[in-house]
């Protein structure tokens, strides 16, 4: 369980001749993330979503407030549980090394984690990778390809497989589907839903698209200007109090089709 209380973060911004004013990114962020949950954090660009994810991953320090995981302070927990906090980024093209084969990319977290003892682990690595490739529905031949040979959706699956190699407990999805086609988005979301059950994952799903969030998450938090405006159960977002959330809810362009009726027949 992750408890975040009154988290603060500001960046230096040099403005003026003398001035070293600070720009607040997160002013007061508090939320709880229970194990097995999927919390969606919704906010527009510049609201501090990505900063929050970097802080949780331990890539950046925070200025105030506290983060506790299983009752332990954040930095201690991270040290004791290496590889248990994983992430999938938005930009799949720049988050993989273009000179590496897919095998190297997926193996990297394992190499980092086990360091010198890698030799003995070779066989178990191989079976783990095979299992993960099957889970993300990609054939084994892809392991010897390079990132540019894969489509966006395939590469994002690779990124998901890479994030799962260390058997994480928490997975941050930082706009993980935003740069994909709508049809592929829905495939990836279905995959994520399956993986959550199979690997007992806890998701922190950062997005700006309310429809995708509603599909995957059971809790919702709305972030704006560095403050959590509201935290809701996912099927209660219509009773949101703040104006911003209501505006967001009404801004979604739903898609309607009479094709619904024949859907069940098609999939079976």
């Amino acid at each position: 369980m992750i408890q975040v209380e009154h988290l603060q973060k500001s960046y230096k911004s040099s403005r003026g001749f003398w001035g070293r004013s600070r720009q607040d990114v997160l002013t007061d962020v508090s939320f709880h993330l229970n194990d097995g949950d999927c919390l969606g954090i919704v906010g527009e660009s510049g609201s501090g979503k990505s900063t929050l994810s970097r802080i949780l991953l331990g890539l950046e320090a925070y200025d105030g407030g506290s983060i506790r995981i299983d009752g332990l302070p954040h930095h201690k927990w991270i040290k004791q549980n290496k590889g248990k906090f994983s992430v999938v980024f938005q930009d799949y093209r720049t988050s993989v090394n273009p000179n590496w084969t897919i095998r190297q990319i997926v193996e990297e977290p394992l190499r980092m984690l086990h360091g010198g003892e890698q030799k003995q682990k070779q066989t178990s690595n191989e079976s783990l990778i095979a299992e993960l490739m099957e889970r993300v529905q990609l054939p084994m031949e892809y392991l010897d390809k390079y990132p540019h040979e894969l489509s966006g959706g395939q590469l994002q699956r690779i990124c998901i497989a890479r994030a799962l190699t260390t058997r994480p407990r928490y997975l941050i999805l930082d706009e993980a589907i935003s740069s994909l086609d709508v049809s592929v988005q829905s495939q990836i979301l279905t995959l994520l839903k399956e993986l959550q059950a199979d690997f007992q994952l806890t998701y922190l799903f950062i997005a700006h698209d309310l429809q995708a969030v509603a599909y995957l998450c059971n809790r919702l938090a709305f972030l704006r200007d560095g403050v959590i405006l509201e935290e809701l159960d996912c099927n209660h977002y219509t009773c949101a109090k703040s104006e911003y959330v209501n505006q967001l809810v009404s801004s979604v362009l739903p898609f309607e089709s009479g094709f619904t009726r024949t859907r069940e027949g098609l999939t079976s």
Binding site: E44, S45, S151, G152, D181, V182, S183, V184, Q185, S186, Q187, L189, T190, H208, D209, L210, Q211, A212, A214, Y215, C234, N235, H236, Y237, T238, C239, Q247, L248, V249, S251, V252, L253, P254, F255, E256, S257, G258, F259, T260, R263, L266, T267
Partner: protein
């Protein structure tokens, strides 16, 4: 009235020898909106770029593109250039990179109008501010005086529409105009397009992979897959009774995405 018709358009990449678009034929009636849907890599953008004539040199095409009673594929570069902006204009996906980052918005708008419409600077300024006002900006003067990085993606997208508005082209091509925006801005831009359609009766070609946006704006729709048009028809027909398996797949996946959302919305509304 038929504004644009494309007959058996083939587009090939000479570098790789691959055919990007095969036998594409479609027509756009004046004062309507045509939606083009399909996944990335299906040749949507290539097709409209060929209409505009801005594909790189190694992209070869044959077929016919009829616009204003002539086949514009036979035109030379000078004639094509005269069409761009004045008769056919394009609204790009990435508003952030479409503008020059080191010049103020006002300067860029003014410059376009002075060059294309041959008006004076003062007249151009008046035109820019007027069109910004119609684009629903609360403070057009502030927008006019700001640099692109000071504006949000949605605002820049609206600036781009404002420019297209003033040039009064007979055809506006919008290539994924809402993809890079968050949902509030997306709705804002979609509303702006609706307003544009009602107010000026512009003919619009809208490319998007989001069926929701297309459903809201378009009258007709064509579905592209791997460079071929697999289905076309009115929006209601194609989205309610998709015939081709690929269209069915697109509709299905999109429905899957909005289903749980719509359900909650309806449950909450009761």
């Amino acid at each position: 009235m038929l504004l644009l018709s494309v007959n058996k358009l083939n587009i090939r990449d000479q570098k790789t020898g691959k055919t990007i678009v095969r036998d594409a034929s479609f027509a756009v009636q004046a004062n309507t909106c045509l939606g083009i849907v399909g996944e990335s890599g299906s040749g949507k953008s290539m097709t409209v770029r060929e209409i505009l004539g801005v594909n790189p040199r190694w992209i070869q095409s044959d077929g016919e593109i009829w616009f204003e009673d002539r086949d514009i594929l036979q035109d030379d570069e000078k004639q094509r250039r005269a069409l761009r902006g004045r008769k056919i204009s394009m609204i790009l996906q990435d508003a952030m990179t479409a503008f020059n980052p080191i010049e103020k918005m006002g300067y860029q708008m003014r410059q376009t109008f002075v060059q294309v419409l041959k008006v004076t600077k003062k007249e151009a300024e008046r035109l820019s501010l007027d069109s910004l006002r119609t684009m629903n900006f609360s403070d057009p003067v502030a927008v006019y005086k700001s640099y692109p990085h000071e504006l949000s993606g949605g605002m820049l997208q609206r600036c781009m529409i404002a420019i297209a508005l003033v040039l009064k082209p007979s055809l506006i091509i919008a290539d994924e105009p809402t993809t890079a925006l968050d949902s509030i801005n997306q709705l804002e831009v979609v509303k702006q397009f609706q307003y544009l359609k009602e107010l000026t009766g512009t003919t619009l070609i809208l490319i998007s992979h989001d069926l929701g946006v297309v459903q809201r704006l378009a009258d007709h729709v064509i579905v592209m897959k791997d460079g071929e048009i697999v289905e076309d028809g009115t929006v209601a027909n194609v989205f309610n009774e998709p015939q081709h398996p690929y269209t069915q797949y697109l509709v299905n996946t999109r429905l899957q995405l909005s289903d749980s959302y719509v359900k909650t919305l309806q449950a909450g509304g009761v």
